[in-house]
Symmetry: C2
Subunit: 347 residues, 2 copies
């Protein structure tokens, strides 16, 4: 079998997950990819006690990995939008395919990254950037390729869903649950990105770009968080037959594509109302298939690794053939982004 | 752009859906496939009033389509396991890729069909054979390719789920709901295949083949239907906090892969308990990702067409490169099929 060599940049929670799952399940993964996938290079500022990298060349300078001749695919897992952007561009300039879990990078710089990748006939894959272990990017890009998407709506931030679930099931205060979430590692020390809906907005534009063929842009998305919600709001909603869920919603309207992130009343009879804790779920409505839902863990070391490795396998399978169809923006749709609140989720 | 030519064999409910959606959404579909997908041939014993085939060559002999030089992909939508088998073999012998929605054919003759396809470097794709519009085959084959599957459990027959949902929500009798289902076209005049679990067993072995690398075989599957269930059974289950769902379950055990189809008590807190009517859902538990769920319409003209066309797009994208990894049985797992009843669905 031919070999495909991987360089992992970043050995934090997700990086260690990718390294360990690739090792543990190599028999299954290689059979499915029909090639030998080997981690030949790791770039990380420090070691990770959760993974044994003996036998692999570890560099303290991640850019060494992008330049290494023994690497076919660079896996970018350092996060952020500055060094990560340079790293991805360096990988592409050195003729490497890229797999990334970085939603902020895709949301902020996706368009320029894909332009460079396309000009060099290289793949940039990003399943893990949205909804952790759920293969939602693949579903939008391939599984539903026959359809015109009417709308999609997702619980795409595990932190806010955990907080709302606890407020709902136990009547707890927002601040109280947030502190627990921070202790458990579900929320950052500065939780703004999660609780104000910015992280969800990043994921929403990535999905909307695939679903509607939009160029990726964060401008004009109505974004509201969950910080003003109180236990009695959640309780009132229940009395009316609804769960409050923090949704990212993208919808085709007569005036263009509407993108918004906000707390929404979801009828208890809708499957989305039963998605609790740090889980994620994305509901997609399209002209041929009707309504589908994709549910699973929205974050975590091995769930995210599952999506990163699925991308690695796809790239390994595709290498050599033309990767043109990997570029997400499928023609430019004229779009007047509009920000509107529609508090009740109607399906 | 290059052209990919399609021959549709069978112009019933699903055939008309495929023909119509391919026409209606051709701009989106061609952009996603990065080629022009054109129906050049239709083989059907009679016309279908729901689709306008003027401008396309229609043959009354479906085998003419498999021999036609102007066809790259044969779409088999005639159903059954006799003529359909001859048709698929004829297509492969004539060097055509095959897309099929035929679960009975895949379950009964999948192994021999894939052997011929592999020897000729041709693709046989079958997303629509399981769970209608839900891209579950793609999820098992690609989206979760990093994982060892521990178990999967699915509501994979819309007829039985419709009957159980009506018995549950309205306290109706099995026979009463079955008659309504027959009138609505959800159930056949002879409902045995659906209500005795045979159809679900077909779909289960197809999924298990992909999930566990098993050769496809219908032998040794414990199969029980829903005909003995009475409204008070459903009601008792509710009192205990469960919904009764007819599940197909495949599980890795110490003794091999266990396959079974039977009514099961599903806790009300599990998302599967909220899947009602003719909808389908498949829950998959795997070592890296944890638990995921895939929900959507399990049958119908355009939902099934959505999956057929997703396969066409995939085959069109892949044509020219090696399709080896399309063969579902990924190495042979020693398997002692065991039939056991575990009435409570534990997750």
């Amino acid at each position: 079998m031919r070999s495909v060599n991987i360089g992992i940049c970043g050995l934090g929670t997700v990086g260690a997950g990718v390294f360990n799952v690739l090792g543990r399940n190599s028999d299954k993964i290689n059979a499915r990819a029909n090639c030998n996938i080997t981690v030949t290079q790791v770039g990380a500022r420090r070691d990770n006690a959760n993974c044994d990298t003996s036998g692999v060349e570890v560099s303290r300078d991640i850019f060494d990995v992008t330049r290494h001749s023994d690497v076919d695919i660079i896996v970018e897992l350092i996060g952020g939008t500055t060094v990560a952007l340079d790293l991805v561009m360096s990988a592409l300039e050195n003729g490497k395919h890229v797999v990334t879990a970085n939603k902020a990078l895709m949301a902020a710089h996706g368009t320029e990254i894909f332009a460079v990748a396309q000009s060099r006939n290289l793949i940039v894959a990003f399943e893990a950037a949205v909804a952790g272990g759920i293969p939602i990017i693949k579903a939008l890009r391939e599984g539903l390729s026959a359809n015109r998407i009417n709308w999609l709506a997702g619980i795409i931030n595990g932190t806010t869903n955990f907080i709302l679930s606890e407020m709902d099931s136990k009547g707890r205060d927002f601040v109280d649950v947030l502190e627990e979430a921070q202790q458990k590692g579900y929320a950052e020390a500065d939780p703004t990105f999660d609780v104000e809906g910015i992280d969800a907005a990043h994921k929403l534009v990535i999905m909307a770009s695939l679903a509607f063929g939009l160029p990726i842009s964060l401008e004009g998305i109505f974004t509201d968080g969950i910080t003003r919600l109180e236990p009695q709001d959640v309780s009132y909603a229940r009395q009316l037959g609804y769960a409050i869920k923090h949704l990212g919603i993208a919808r085709q309207t007569a005036g263009g594509i509407e993108l918004r992130v906000h707390p929404t009343l979801v009828p208890e009879t809708c499957l989305m109302a039963g998605v609790n804790g740090v889980s994620n779920a994305v509901m997609v409505n399209a002209d041929a298939v009707g309504t589908t839902l994709f549910y699973g863990p929205g974050a975590g070391s091995e769930p995210t690794a599952s999506s990163v490795i699925a991308d690695i396998v796809d790239v390994a399978r595709t290498m050599g053939s033309s990767p043109e169809s990997w570029v997400p923006a499928l023609g430019c749709v004229p779009s007047a982004f509009r920000a509107k609140i529609s508090w009740i989720f109607r399906i």
